[in-house]
Each structure stands twice: as structure tokens, then as C-alpha cells.
Subunit: 347 residues, 2 copies
């Protein structure tokens, strides 16, 4: 049971999955809660190790779309800006909005390089099956982000082909925005290819948290960037259904909090949040990559950091402690946060 | 980073998920390799904590079906016996076999109490959608096991209704078999409700491993049980497609090993194996419940415990080190075992 070379520190168990009252599985992770100046309010586990933020940084990747003037030139609506920050379900509202974003840029789905993906909801899958159709790139959860990238490319007057490659002007701009927001020197950061083919850079949780404190408050940002961040914050919180979709954490939580918080999930158990009224940003990672645990981690974190109205508490409740039922609907267990691990987040 | 009350010991990282060569996520767990006398050949992590084995013990739960004479009375084929031990994909071969098993007992799917479940493969889901149909209990991955329970009930001459309840004669028989095979006093074991509604008892990995050493060799078993275990072992290894299905670990591995090993997965990251030629049983659990990690753990364990033919090594390779690709098929990373953690399993 000694540490293996791959395991330089051991993060605490933050989430338990129970069956019949006994713990069946356990999830470890780390959480950073940081202000816009970079001072930590609270941390759990190791918040300095590099983490691939995946889709959690889509709103930062969308900053160039606004700062370049592209969003205005293309007359993108708030709902479309929200889609540019989204990991959506591939519901009709998402597919249609992505199609229109591309049209505004004089393009269609053939320009997308994200790849195709089945929609998340069974009813949307069924509709495709009954039409004997396959999903296309518009259904890809990143299609709004990519439509934004293409709009930026067109506005910059550069070729759209290869817009996902690290050396393309669009990805250069995106990288600069990430580097500036996180304060991390990305030359030295682990770099990988994301699911949708754009680059992903691993950044410590504490730096990600700070980036989202700045994103939510505008503190420490140049006026152009502060305005862009503010526009995106409000677009996402005013159109939460675009950012994810039906029954998704980000949508339900942002809908319930009505502008008080911005939250965004990333693959492999990542979540970020901006809490402007407290000047804070949150970034967390479930070590093993489990979304079920990361959702409970973020819900519990929000509950500890904010005084909740009854509606907000009610909306968070089933994410803090999801009840598990079996194939006939019998209650079999739950997913729950480890109380002692979150106690340090209060105050 | 101190241990939380829920975390009495820390299992080592056994599996890493990489992106761009960097570790993105980590999975911890424990592995027990034990002989039929209960002596450990090797252990990794804590093998004494109770673990819900879930579907991994289906072959033990099927012992009463044979020992009672029900399998013979109902003239169940080897393929049907394999289905009685299965967590199947809900492909046509599985659904049809379960239907026939029930017919042999004078029953139909209305008798099943496991609940309905969508098939695993998209093409089987599509077929239902195009027929405007919903899945039924025959599609449930446990339908073969439940058809076996119902056949046992009919042979015992007891009512079938409520056959999933702990006090029903069928579940009493199943529990006795589990208790005897594992040597664990189930009165004191954590007890939960499984996905298909039958009881599930948490048992230490070392006891599960011993149970499967006995299952594979017949050592330490009364003649009636040894014969039942032998029948089930051969049914599963001769009809691996029934035990899981297309592209599933258990099916591909048992097919490749052609009788040398029996393997069975369980929900929440559990796997067991019987390796008769070495007189061994294996039981493992991924702490966080991830099947992707448990598959790599079992594949690596088998590779360390057995001298492999080229075909066997080839079949195991993509389970030991699954290559990950993104939505357009670009290679982005891999899942890999932590070499140092498995080194102790050799010899």
C-alpha cells in the first residue's frame, strides 16, 4: 500500500457511493477556492498538480470571439454566445442554434472539424433512428464552441480549414487567452488533444480557480476582456439551457441561481465555478475522472460557500446527495459528499 | 490531505488514464490472488474490506439451479446455463435464449422481476426505436440469471412471485451457496439491493478469490457442488458470447483463452477469475467503481499469472492498454496499468 511512482500525493475521499447503507465505492479529488488576486479561501487536496480542464474552460476559449469584434460583426445573440461556451446535449435547440451560428459566418456543418456524436438524450437518439439518420457534427457537444471558432476565423480573414490545429490563428488566440487568464506558462504545460480535436493544456486547479474568479468579477482584467467576460457570464447564466441541456447539472444549477453563479463541467471529472458576490472562483477535479463525483463535489462546494434560498437549496439537493434506484425503481443507495472533507470550505 | 474517517487505508494507484503522454486520471484498487485452500499467492491493496461483488458472483448464484436438479429437469442447454451466469448485452441471441429458458419452465417474461433495460449496443437500440418499441425485462442484462431463478422456483414447487426477495426459497438457496463458497458469515455482512432487485452481500476480495479458485478446480467442494461448478465453468467458457456479448471483456477473453480461464465482471469495478491450471482464483475491485479500470486490472493480472500464446496475448493487449481516440478517431491517449503495482503478481 505504499505510494506508487505515479502517485506523489494522496487526495482525500470526497464522495462515497453507498448501497444498503454501506460504502460501495469511493472517489478522491481536490478542490480549489480562490479569489481574483489568487489568494486561496480554502483548498482540499492537492491543487497545484496540473489538470486537463477539458470543457470547463470553454468560456475562456470564447473570449477571443468577443474581444476580436467577431461576435458583434456576426451579430451573435446571447443564446449563441452561451452555445459557444457549451457542452450541449445535442437537443434540437442546440443543433439549430449551431447551424444558425455557422450560417451567420457564411458556413455550414461541413466546416466543422469536431466530429460527430450521438445526442445525449434517448428521445433525440430515437428521432434519428426513426428517420434512419446518423448524427452529424452539429450534434457534437462542442459544435457551438467550434461554430464560434469558425466565426472568429472568418472575421480574422484567415482560412477556416485546420482551425483546430495548435498553429492556426484561432487556436493561437485561444491559447493566449488561456495563458493570460490562468497565469500559467503553457509552453511548459502538459498538452494533449481534446475530444473535439483542439489542444488542451493542463493547468493547476488553483490557477483555474483564480481565472474564474476574475472571469466572474472582471477584477484584474483589461477593460476589453472584462467586458467580454461579463458578456459571456451573462449569456450563459441567462441561457443555461444552451450551456448543457435538459436535466444537466450546469443548466439546472445556473437556472436555479439566476445569475448568482456560473458553473461549467469538463470531461474526466472537472468542474469550475464563478461566484462574483464573494469574489471567488472554484476549480475541482475528481481523481478518477468520474462526473458523478465531480457533480456532487461542486454541488456541495456551492452549498458551503453560499447562503441558499429555499429554491436554490432545493435545486442543489439532488446533486449533493443523488438517490440511486435500480431497474424497477427501488431505492438502493446514494452518492454523498464526505462531510468532514467539505467542512473547511465554510466561512 | 489526512485520511478521512471513511478511508481506513489507501489502496495504490493501479491504472492511469493518459492524454498527450501526461496522466489525466488515476484509479486505485485492490486485487486478491488466492488458491483453493485460501492461501494468497499475491495481494495488492486491502483485500479484507467487504466489497459488493454484484454480478461477478452470478455463477455462484447459479449453483442451486444445478444442484437442485432443476437444470436437468428443465433440460437447460449449456448456452442457457451460460446465460444464467451472464450480464448480457441484450442482443437477439440473449433475448431469445432467455425467452426459451422461461418457456421451458412454463413461464414468460411477465414472471421476470428484474425490470427492463435498454440493450447495450446502439444497433439493438436502433432496432427497437425503428419498431417504435421499448425494451422489456428480457433485455435486462440479468434476464438469464432470473430465468434460472424462476426455473428453480418452478422445480422446487414454490410460488414464483417475489422470487427476488431475501426470504423467498430461491434467494435462501442462493445465499446458502454464496455463504458456503465464500466462507463468509453473511448474517454480519453489509447487505444491499442489487440493480435487478435480488440481495447483494459484501464479502472480502480474498474470500471471493478463494471461492473462484474452488469454483474452477472443484477442490474443497462436495461432489454435487464440484459437478455443478464444473458444468457452469464449461458452459460459460464454451459459450462466452452468452455471458456478455459482442466486444465485451468477458466474452473476448474467455473466447481467446478457450477454457483456460473463467472471468466475470461485476458493476462498480469488480472482476473475478478462475484459473484452474494454477489452482487460483482472482477477485479485484476498482475503488471508485470504474469498469474501464477494472478491465485493465484484470487483463494485466491474467497476463502476469499465465504464460500466453500469441493469440491470447493479442486478445489481451487492447484490454491491458486500451488506446483512446477522439470523435474524429485521432489518437489522444491510453489507459494503462501501473507496472510496479502488478510486478508482485508474477511467480
Amino acid at each position: 500500500m505504499s505510494a506508487t511512482p505515479s502517485d506523489t500525493s494522496t487526495n482525500p475521499v470526497l464522495v462515497e457511493v453507498t448501497r444498503g447503507g454501506a460504502v460501495e465505492s469511493r472517489h478522491r479529488g481536490a478542490i480549489a477556492v480562490v479569489d481574483a488576486a489568487g489568494a486561496p479561501l480554502a483548498t482540499v487536496g492537492d491543487v497545484t498538480a496540473p489538470v486537463f480542464p477539458r470543457s470547463a474552460v470553454k468560456a475562456l476559449q470564447a473570449l477571443p470571439l468577443l474581444e476580436s469584434g467577431a461576435a458583434e460583426a456576426l451579430d451573435l445573440s446571447d443564446a449563441e454566445l452561451a452555445l459557444a461556451c457549451a457542452s450541449h446535449n445535442g437537443e434540437a435547440i442546440h443543433v439549430n442554434a449551431a447551424r444558425v451560428m455557422l450560417m451567420k459566418a457564411g458556413l455550414d456543418e461541413d466546416a466543422l472539424e469536431c466530429g460527430s456524436q450521438w445526442p445525449r438524450r434517448m428521445q433525440d437518439v430515437a428521432r434519428l433512428h426513426r428517420a434512419d439518420a446518423h448524427p452529424g457534427p452539429l450534434h457534437n457537444n462542442c459544435s457551438g464552441k467550434h461554430a464560434g471558432f469558425l466565426g472568429l476565423a472568418r472575421t480574422l480573414g484567415v482560412p477556416t480549414r485546420g482551425y483546430v490545429e495548435p498553429d492556426h490563428p484561432v487556436q493561437r488566440e485561444v491559447r493566449i487567452a488561456l495563458e493570460e487568464m490562468t497565469g500559467a506558462a503553457l509552453d511548459h504545460a502538459p498538452c494533449g488533444i481534446d475530444g473535439c480535436s483542439i489542444p488542451t493544456y493542463a493547468v493547476p486547479l488553483d490557477r483555474l480557480a483564480r481565472a474564474f474568479a476574475c472571469f466572474g468579477t472582471g477584477e484584474g482584467l483589461a477593460p476589453l476582456r472584462a467586458e467580454a467576460a461579463d458578456r459571456l457570464y451573462h449569456a450563459c447564466t441567462a441561457h443555461p439551457e444552451m450551456v448543457a441541456g435538459t436535466e444537466r447539472f450546469c443548466t439546472e444549477v445556473m437556472r436555479a441561481f439566476a445569475g448568482r453563479v456560473f458553473v461549467k463541467t469538463g470531461a474526466e471529472g472537472v468542474f469550475v465555478a464563478s461566484i462574483p458576490e464573494r469574489g471567488l472562483g472554484v476549480a475541482l477535479k475528481c481523481d478518477d475522472g468520474a462526473t458523478r463525483a465531480a457533480e456532487t463535489m461542486m454541488a456541495e462546494t456551492l452549498a458551503r460557500l453560499l447562503a441558499l434560498s429555499d429554491d436554490e437549496a432545493s435545486a442543489l439537493a439532488h446533486w449533493r446527495r443523488p438517490q440511486l434506484s435500480n431497474w424497477v425503481g427501488r431505492s438502493v443507495g446514494e452518492i454523498r459528499p464526505v462531510d468532514a472533507a467539505f467542512a473547511g470550505l465554510e466561512g
